[in-house]
């Protein structure tokens, strides 16, 4: 309890003078704050442990080299080192922190956001309207079959009954409709991918 009363600055100066036990007191005093701070950024126990260790290795080196100047407080200085090391970690891995539910199983591995983002949904609208325009260019009989098949989801049997042609004719019209659409797309260099 007595050691609790010794301010950080005095402990740091004792440590620089060679009192190794002062470091133990400093780590004991601040370990929880520093560890939680790192964990709040990386959400991973092992990485937190590594960053925590690297932080204090840096602290020890700086203090032993006599490069520490008591401008500010000890804890904010250590926090800044930890913060920089966290940034280094993410730079090295070039990814953002991912939230892990602290177990083997992560809910995000089964859940995914299938909805399109703003850009992709704009592209999708554009592609769909391009396709519609190309369909409008088709000869009437081919257009009719294609619309019934693709947009009304009718079978070729239903289409043949509705249009009064044989199934083979309906199939043939569908085939030509697709061939003609491909031609138009190629000729005009239309990109229809999302």
């Amino acid at each position: 309890m007595e050691k609790e009363l010794i301010p950080d600055a005095a402990l740091v100066s004792n440590y620089i003078k060679g009192d190794e036990s002062a470091l133990a007191v400093l780590i004991e005093r601040h370990k929880q704050k520093i560890y939680s701070f790192i964990f709040s950024k990386v959400y991973d126990r092992d990485i937190t442990e590594d960053v925590f260790q690297d932080t204090f290795i840096k602290v020890i080196k700086t203090l032993k080299r006599g490069k520490y100047n008591e401008e500010g407080k000890f804890l904010p200085w250590v926090m800044r080192i930890a913060h920089n090391l966290v940034i280094d970690h993410f730079r090295k891995n070039s990814r953002m922190p991912k939230f892990d539910n602290a177990g083997e199983f992560s809910i995000f591995s089964v859940l995914s956001d299938s909805s399109l983002n703003a850009e992709k949904s704009m592209i999708k609208d554009q592609v769909e309207s391009d396709v519609r325009r190309i369909i409008e260019e088709l000869p009437e009989d081919q257009k009719q079959v294609l619309l019934m098949r693709m947009y009304n989801d009718m079978s070729f049997k239903e289409i043949s009954e509705r249009t009064g042609v044989s199934i083979n004719t309906a199939l043939g019209r569908m085939r030509y409709a697709l061939i003609n659409m491909r031609k138009v797309i190629e000729q005009n260099n239309i990109v229809l991918t999302n």
Binding site: Y35, E49, K64, G66
Partner: protein, 47 residues
Amino acid sequence: MAKLYSNPSPKNDKLLPKDETISYLLNYSKALSVISYNKLKFEALLN
């Protein structure tokens, strides 16, 4: 009675470094000595 299949999430209230990490750091500190020679500083790890 409906069965609950979800596992209770482990509590993270004890956010503390491992004892091994602390003891490694203290031993590292004891082993590290910085030797000054003129204006140069050399680190030496004595195990």
